[in-house]
């Protein structure tokens, strides 16, 4: 660990200030985020770590614009996402965000290439062109021989690589990965993280990875620790090659 990152860094691609998030009303109200300040820079992988139930998933949901914060502001590349009307927020998300889910969430009836092409299809690209682009990316990710396989015919690692391709195919500016290695064995998790580090890092792209897998910590440029709805510690680190 080295230089602590500042939540107010001007160059931050993701900038959260004083994020609070409550669920429920009255006595049943639970405050999951209690004034979170968080930043992630473009060209880096930022890890968000912490125990189960500390609010990591809620925070990335707020960052992604999938949940509205109860208080505070989220800026993505200088744009306050919460000020956008819902329809524009969806379009913003489609253009600028890519997701890797813990359970992959691939469409079971589509082939690997078709799954990876979904963000392009959602953006209105013609299917042959979209699938061709997705195939090219899958080849880079080492799935050239499984392009037409259904998810049920792929291993967990292969499915996560398809999910990674889906997150990157439309060249988003922010990639959010939720526990990308949690459902994988250690070796496969390492390999997925290597691919993520090798393919997702781009000078204009930030990558936020939620994980509690400390074995993959070496892939992070910066690490923020969360506990009980707060960022308890932020640090930058130099990557080993």
């Amino acid at each position: 660990m080295s230089t602590p990152s500042s939540a107010t860094t001007p160059a931050a691609a993701v900038l959260c200030r004083g994020i609070e998030k409550d669920f429920g009303d009255g006595e049943a109200r639970v405050r999951v985020l209690r004034g979170v300040d968080f930043a992630a820079r473009a060209g880096e992988i930022t890890f968000l770590m912490g125990p189960s139930g500390c609010g990591k998933t809620t925070l990335i949901s707020v960052i992604a614009g999938l949940l509205d914060p109860s208080a505070g502001a989220v800026e993505l590349f200088g744009q306050d996402v919460n000020l956008l009307p819902p329809s524009e927020r969806v379009l913003f998300r489609r253009r600028n965000l890519g997701f890797v889910f813990q359970q992959y969430n691939l469409l079971t009836s589509l082939t690997a290439a078709e799954n990876a092409a979904v963000p392009l299809l959602a953006a209105g690209m013609k299917r042959p062109e979209a699938v061709d682009r997705a195939k090219a990316l899958l080849v880079k990710l080492g799935l050239g021989n499984r392009l037409d396989s259904l998810p049920s015919k792929l291993s967990g690692g292969q499915q996560q690589r398809v999910a990674l391709a889906r997150a990157l195919v439309h060249e988003p500016r922010l990639v959010i990965c939720d526990e990308p290695t949690a459902a994988l064995d250690h070796a496969t998790g390492e390999s997925v993280m290597e691919l993520l580090a090798g393919s997702a890092i781009h000078p204009e792209r930030a990558v936020v990875v939620v994980t509690h897998d400390s074995r993959v910590l070496r892939f992070a440029h910066a690490v923020a620790h969360m506990d009980d709805g707060l960022i308890t510690d932020s640090a930058r680190q130099t990557l080993s090659t």
Partner: protein, 379 residues
């Protein structure tokens, strides 16, 4: 995304086929039962429709439908003829008589005695022989179904003898008369002959058939006859509907068919609706992922509607095809002749099934719309 929607739909083969089967079965049952019902109801007035050369039927005010008549007085014919605007008015005697073959086969038959001089009401479509020969003594025209009933398995042949009320009659023609409500033979003969087929009765005039003069509409003719004679007059169309409503109100037919049609509708609505709803619920995570990726609610609604309309259309087309094949087969059967798949029923069932799939998809759409995309992060 239409492609994605269709792949999602067809990927779950069991539900996809189940949906198509439920809609096809429901469509077939609805079209089948509603067409048979209409066909049967149509038969209640088929002998009225067969009379092409009269537009108005005059009867005793107590006569409600074709099958059961209260006889008019013979003088009523002349009273009707005295109404201004009539081109011609002729008697029709309708009775049931029992006909027996030489081999001993017998059957009660709907017997229609036509005006001796004009033969108004004679069946125009003859399969064999000629209706003009009805002018011969003891001549009858029998319908194809009646002939088959009395001479089962034998070829059509003229001049065969039948016995009725101790009299001998001979067949001069075999007609293609429309099937009656009860599957009795239809026998046409002259009025004077028909009176001899049954025992002596004081009055035997069942109906007076009227053709209005040029320029007088059947409705106007009806008004004039009723005003001047006090008898009941109906246009052919009105009288056919009278028969339909009589059977609707006095038999269990509409209830029985109604139950079957309701079951078919429930099967379509519940099974198809529930299966489609389950299909959507089981795919909620996938829809959630699409939402998170940035697929708009509008696009998701479009995807679900496309899925619903696709299974709806395939199921409907399959069900209608099966119904068409069914009626194509039964149309050539004597017993079920005239009962056809009506285009109105096909269209009506189409609208109904379209409503069913739209209703089912609305339930599913609601689930997807209220789905929080952040749920995809919850594993």
């Amino acid at each position: 995304m239409n492609y994605v929607a269709l792949r999602m739909l067809m990927g779950d083969r069991a539900k996809y086929l189940g949906l198509i089967f439920a809609i096809a079965f429901s469509t077939f049952l609805l079209e089948n039962q509603s067409s048979i019902f209409v066909g049967i109801m149509n038969r209640t007035g088929s002998q009225i429709a067969d009379v092409a050369d009269a537009d108005v039927w005059v009867m005793d005010p107590g006569t409600e439908y074709f099958e059961e008549t209260k006889a008019l007085k013979d003088t009523d014919l002349y009273r009707v003829r005295g109404v201004p605007g009539i081109d011609y008015a002729v008697p029709l005697f309708k009775t049931n008589a029992v006909f027996r073959t030489a081999a001993g086969n017998f059957s009660s038959a709907v017997t229609l005695g036509l005006d001796d001089s004009t033969l108004v009401g004679v069946p125009r479509k003859m399969l064999l022989g000629s209706w003009e020969r009805l002018r011969e003594p003891g001549a009858i025209v029998i319908d194809r179904a009646g002939y088959d009933r009395l001479y089962t398995g034998e070829p059509l042949r003229l001049d065969r003898l039948l016995e009725v009320n101790d009299r001998q009659v001979h067949i001069v023609g075999i007609s293609d008369a429309a099937a009656p409500f009860a599957s009795f033979p239809i026998i046409h003969t002259r009025y004077s002959e028909a009176r001899l087929f049954v025992g002596p009765q004081r009055s035997q005039l069942s109906f007076v058939l009227v053709r209005p003069a040029a320029g007088v509409t059947p409705d106007e003719m009806v008004r004039r006859i009723e005003a001047q004679t006090g008898l009941r007059a109906r246009t052919s169309g009105q009288f056919r509907w009278d028969c339909v409503w009589y059977y609707m109100g006095h038999t269990g037919i509409p209830i029985n068919f109604g139950i079957t049609i309701a079951i078919a509708l429930i099967v379509g609505l519940v099974v198809a609706g529930q299966t489609f709803y389950l299909f959507t619920v089981e795919n909620l995570k996938q829809f959630g992922a699409l939402k998170a990726i940035g697929v708009t609610n509008r696009r998701l609604i479009g995807m679900i509607l496309l899925q619903a309309l696709t299974v709806g259309f395939i199921g409907y087309a399959l069900g209608t095809s099966i119904a068409a094949v069914f009626f194509e087969i039964t149309a050539s059967e004597i017993a079920t002749r005239g009962i056809v798949l009506l285009w109105q029923n096909v269209v009506g069932v189409g609208v109904l099934m379209f409503s069913v799939v739209i209703f089912a998809s609305l339930l599913s759409i609601r689930r997807v719309l209220v789905l929080e995309p952040a749920a995809v992060f919850r594993g």
